[in-house]
Symmetry: C2
Amino acid sequence: METTSDEMQEWLKSGDSREYFELVAFPTVGADPSRLRDCVACATWLKKWLKGIGAEAELVLPSARGVPEEKTAALSVPVVFAELKGSEGAPTLLFYGHYDVQPADPLELWETPPFEPTPRGYRVYARGAQDDKGQFFAFLCGLREFWREADAEGRMRPNVKILLEGQEESGSTGLFRLLGEPEFRRRIAADMMLVCDTSAAAGLRPAIVAGMRGVCHFTMRLEAASRDLHSGEFGGIAPNAAQGMCELLAALHDAKGAIAVEGFCDGIAEPTPEELEAAAAGAASDDEIKAEIGTEPCGGERGVSAVRRGGFAPTIEVNGVHSGYGGPGSKTVIPCEAVAKLSMRLVAGQNPRRCFELVKEHLRAHCPEGMRISFPEDSGLSPALRLPLGSPAMSLAEEVLSEMDARGPVFRWEGASIPVVAALKETSGAAPILVGWGQSGDRIHSPNESFSVRQFLLAKQWGKAVISYAYGITRG
Amino acid sequence: METTSDEMQEWLKSGDSREYFELVAFPTVGADPSRLRDCVACATWLKKWLKGIGAEAELVLPSARGVPEEKTAALSVPVVFAELKGSEGAPTLLFYGHYDVQPADPLELWETPPFEPTPRGYRVYARGAQDDKGQFFAFLCGLREFWREADAEGRMRPNVKILLEGQEESGSTGLFRLLGEPEFRRRIAADMMLVCDTSAAAGLRPAIVAGMRGVCHFTMRLEAASRDLHSGEFGGIAPNAAQGMCELLAALHDAKGAIAVEGFCDGIAEPTPEELEAAAAGAASDDEIKAEIGTEPCGGERGVSAVRRGGFAPTIEVNGVHSGYGGPGSKTVIPCEAVAKLSMRLVAGQNPRRCFELVKEHLRAHCPEGMRISFPEDSGLSPALRLPLGSPAMSLAEEVLSEMDARGPVFRWEGASIPVVAALKETSGAAPILVGWGQSGDRIHSPNESFSVRQFLLAKQWGKAVISYAYGITRG
């Protein structure tokens, strides 16, 4: 399974790689309003590419009717929608991917600029090299190859619908709104849905995702005095927002690391023994995780296995906390304000809105004296996804992957979320197949993200194979 | 005591104000290495000004012998030292001030640029308008006026030594090192020491500082994984440095807001009933503080009065905490690192080095699993100062201030620190008099710092009067 130097050289000369470098160079940070032009340019590039392979393609924006003017900006990142007509009476596949990427900061930790894709060894380094531009584009290259061959050979082809959004990393605002439009829901109706945005197992053994956690992000602001105060003059007198924020965030978990928010874990659907066994078989060991992350895998509740903590238990994580001075030397200040970025990961049985309300209630109840708490931003509110083992879609994926790799696939219950997948499953009526080719060493969401040529070629092979098999599935 | 429009106009036309605007325009952030050139330029400007009033003046740098090369930069901010020779056999005064200022951030909260002194109403707005450039320069304008008049009239004059440093806000590194040089100690020997860097009471009633807290600043870094991780993939598995930092900082205080570090408060010299009574008489009420800071004065230990909490009790404050994402939208990251800026204020009876060691020990003992703690920076380690009521220096100040203002002075035990004053008292042999003209509305250390013309004129009057009276004091 090792990439060879020849394979790398050949790939670097291919049209696939040339186009891939172009695609990854767009700085499509969907969460950052100043990157809107780049998102539109990238979406336009994708539309053209899809037309090039014979699809009808267009950029779609949701209606802004009834949306307050200050919130319409979030609806301006276009969704790319395309259709390839298959054989008469063929079943319909819906492929979903996202062309937006995480912010690239801290920039100083990148070895090469994040939006200048750079080959080094058998990998290409860039923000989005893997997540999700690399994965979805490799898949689409496989689709292109299948389509050309089937066309030339007169083979039967399924209908393929392609949906690429630009806000997956920031809550899929625009796409969620589109999914509320009946006309759009009709357009995306399908029998099976394919998503290539997840990870393979160790050694690039194929993995089928049988579950994903839901997610909700929010921002919390804590305000104390009306301005920053001198820590000598007012120390011991005025309340300190940095200190208060720390106490507040510390109160989210108990001494055992369990979530301390009352009612938050009520109703959680525990995994079946079959699911736990399959999850353990496909999971990395504590030692492997330790080697990967550089410290003990001791997050979450003590006394619970990593397999359960990572796939079947919810989290409340501090994604960032900022208050007061952070420059060189010292500044004798009592900060008047603190801001935290938080996210929750939710599992089957948890209602996202109820969980968010419980967390806000808990935080308000623990708000330190003399301070005011507010929640100026939130996004997501996506429920978890749990897919039954043994369904027709699962069986198809198992069959294709067993042909690709004699080891056969493992099943995984991912800790990560693709918030829109649960909603797409609901609105399109399609059965999801989540198979992706990420590796944790790809450093997605971190500096120096990368994707190897081997991963690219596997994603492409998977795309080509699963589409060619899919003609045979029963229509939904 | 109100400034009149005429008074303001007259002052704006004076040489004092023209020079004051020049002085305040130097962006002398002593803690910021990129501002070294500005500090040198400001010190040079001061040397020239002092020569202009007839003093011998020079810039002094401590010897860097034995200092590791990477630490010599902190010794490059010059100390300004000047001497005015008085009458034969006259006593010697040492005047201390600092020309460095706090960093100006957050810049966006300034109504006018921090280093463009701007008159508005009866105030001048700029970083350093008060602390300490405004205060020491107004005092020196009073000295100049006395000197000229005494020269013209042939009056007896004390010897005056003037010491202006550029690192007060960041630990007085260079000056502390100079104080270790026997030659420099001989040069600053004096009978009485004057410092104009503190506050007056409400309504600009004069205030004599009878105590100041000591201080120690330090930076703490907490490291978990070897890089930022995806909060979905590793949420519940990897330890989170932002969360860990919050837990660690929350552990510095108990549920009542008292310092939880064992042994930290041992040996504290409690105030005498006389001191407590005088302090209460000179202190603002809780309602006045609330109006001033915009929230309840509920910092520090519950059940202890604000007078005790602000003047006679130590603090450990979080001056800043930074970890992970803080930009627009969200970023699904588990931060691998967190940095906190902390400071302690110490009272009489506490040994700064011992306190710092106890705090580090406490933090290490509470370091969350899977994380590493380090203390990359510290400065200060200055003990508290408590000056006996009724000493000759105190009596002189009381007499001069009672002539200036019929209400007479109040006595204050300040929560703030001038770390170098305790050391200067020790090395110069001089008895300190700390009288300043700040008001908490001056917003020192905050955006939109300012100093009123009335305050400037009072500081000048005080400088002129105390120096003219000082000839009569007994030589030490």
